[in-house]
Subunit: 214 residues, 4 copies
């Protein structure tokens, strides 16, 4: 299972969490990574943890003041990027553009989507993975795999129908090892999580408990 | 073949063009329709022509000042709607929302997209049809079926792979009957056109010449 | 006082409300108008009521599929338009563009804004009027003139400082005649309201009660 | 005069340019600064140059995946930020929100705008400065101070009328020391420039020639 810890713009110490993710990664067969803010990518990557961007724009080198360039994220040490997170929704044409920008920079890609229908559409754009995150569950602590397992099953099926090479991840409300196991049982290859680790008093313990049942 | 004449916000007489479309429709096996501005839907529909909306928003009845409600378009006489036209791009989640809104109102749907990859994604959202319109050809008078027939072929294949029930239309640069025939030969079931009819000195003659070879 | 009834995309009968607004307008010194959806402007205007658009785009005649053209709103019978309503926020450059489009079509303009600071900015764009509508009060039934009279006073002062020719209106939560009187006492020249009339069992009675104390 | 070098997403070496800006700053009475991409702020600031962000979002700490937090830009070493650059236009309410976010973090602010009318509106939002950048001149090498000096004069007057404490800068097409002198003569207190330095073979020489006539 792939576990991606999204630090959003939380008031956390990105380096401390990066080190916790790196250290727990060394103790498990699961693959753990962290997605800090753009301004923190370089320092986070220097810890040795697998580092992801939270977003890249559908642009190339040029006149794009205030935008996030895939090449810059990659140069700073990112190896992948989220695209179309529910807090950073993009136009269909711009998801396509951001994916092509990420490919140019050899960034692995996860496109987020609200529901199985949108997961199918996202899979058709040829990302490495898609993530289903029902907006109503984000930040609730109620995992989608428990609140509505059919959404996860349908998302896995929708992606499979469109392109069997696209992995499916599961986000929204994941906070325990049981949630990760449920997500795996439903056919996903990973989870996105955020506050469960980033806001934990002890991120290392939170991560250990997450991967323990795997 | 389905021929949809998009009046955009051109300074044309929507009623005169609607009547021309209606009259030529009666002389051919092709299916002709017209897409006026929202404020013109009702009067255009009263001519008896098949009438489409140019856009509907991903909303329901409620507090949505300045938005276009699918129910209102349908009540005014529209039987279908364009969604995600290149001049009115939507976020992926909003294309999904607009499609569900259109379904609720029994509006037929065409989702526009730039290229075959995006056509596949649009097809996964379960519209009635998708239209491939490379932005660089819109308004040029160079039909995509001639400038780059592979884009059309690839779009037909992309939609077929994702969902064989979704029809493919072809837009951008269509202006002659030969263009319509080429589009048909490439596997599409219709065309979107705009200035070729809406800006013609004689819209009836322009339409007759379009459907003549069919 | 100017009283503008915004019908949003409510499931109301726009003609019945238009007739109520027209009839009550004939019994009072207040100026009453109604803002229906774009597709209803023409039929609403035909009742003889003063008709406003809910939004116009920063565009000219041309290739703008799915947009609202000021000229079309004016041709259909609108004499004014809201711009930047809290449910249809625009970029600063587009508020400017929409105002210039409305001027070209001789539409009167009201630019909405959240707070006194934004009201000052809106006033600098040379609209006919600005409206202060704290988003947290919209649809609550608690009038801004009561919940926070300082916001209204500060908005009047902010507009006065920037351009004394720009009238200030007050929106959000207005539903009774007393609210209208309070708004007037605080220095505004009108009110925006919506559900209080559009969702009333008896819109005529609701309007009569609104203008009675004036 | 304040000279802000915007590195956009150019394929330049941000550190080399930062060092050039820092070194030339030490030789002149002008105040020189550089605005790198978010991911480069920290390393650029470590050179000792005055560092600005290109954009901040209207957000606080929290769930804002893929956004730019003012606090993070400040922590990384930025002392100011552009807002509403023509390549990153914001809604009016979001310019207000981004300014308040920047104030919270003690970032100095420059709000960009297309024309004198929008400059007046921007000044009403209480930034430290506004910059007038006619979009049609950006990247042309034709300075606005030469192509249309009245735009600059009108912008200075518009800001002065609304708030005399707000400085006016001038962008678009600045590339020589004469352009900077003209901008100063027209009443501005600084210039924004980009390609003239960022794409120069010798950024130090380009900067020296810019500040030499001051």
């Amino acid at each position: 299972m792939f576990v991606l810890v999204n630090l959003k713009t939380y008031p956390c110490d990105p380096i401390a969490i990066a080190e916790a993710v790196r250290d727990v990664n060394d103790t498990t067969d699961a693959r753990l990574a962290v997605a800090p803010q753009a301004a923190h990518i370089e320092r986070v990557a220097e810890t040795g943890v697998e580092t992801w961007a939270q977003h890249v724009d559908p642009i190339e080198y040029g006149s794009n003041t205030g935008h996030t360039l895939a090449e810059t994220a990659a140069d700073a040490g990112a190896v992948g990027t989220l695209i179309n997170h529910s807090e950073r929704r993009l136009k269909l044409a711009d998801i396509d553009g951001a994916l092509r920008a990420a490919e140019r920079s050899d960034l692995e890609t996860i496109v987020c989507a609200n529901n199985p229908t949108q997961v199918g559409a996202a899979a058709a754009l040829e990302p490495d993975a898609v993530a289903v995150e029902p907006p109503e569950l984000i930040g609730t602590g109620t995992p989608v795999s428990q609140a509505d397992p059919d959404i996860v099953r349908d998302a896995v099926e929708a992606a499979e129908t469109v392109d069997p090479d696209v992995a499916v991840l599961c986000g929204a409300g994941i906070s325990t090892g049981d949630d990760v196991v449920s997500a795996s049982d439903l056919g996903t290859e990973g989870v996105l999580l955020a506050s469960g680790v980033a806001k934990a008093d002890d991120p290392t313990a939170a991560l250990e408990s997450l991967v323990e049942p795997l």
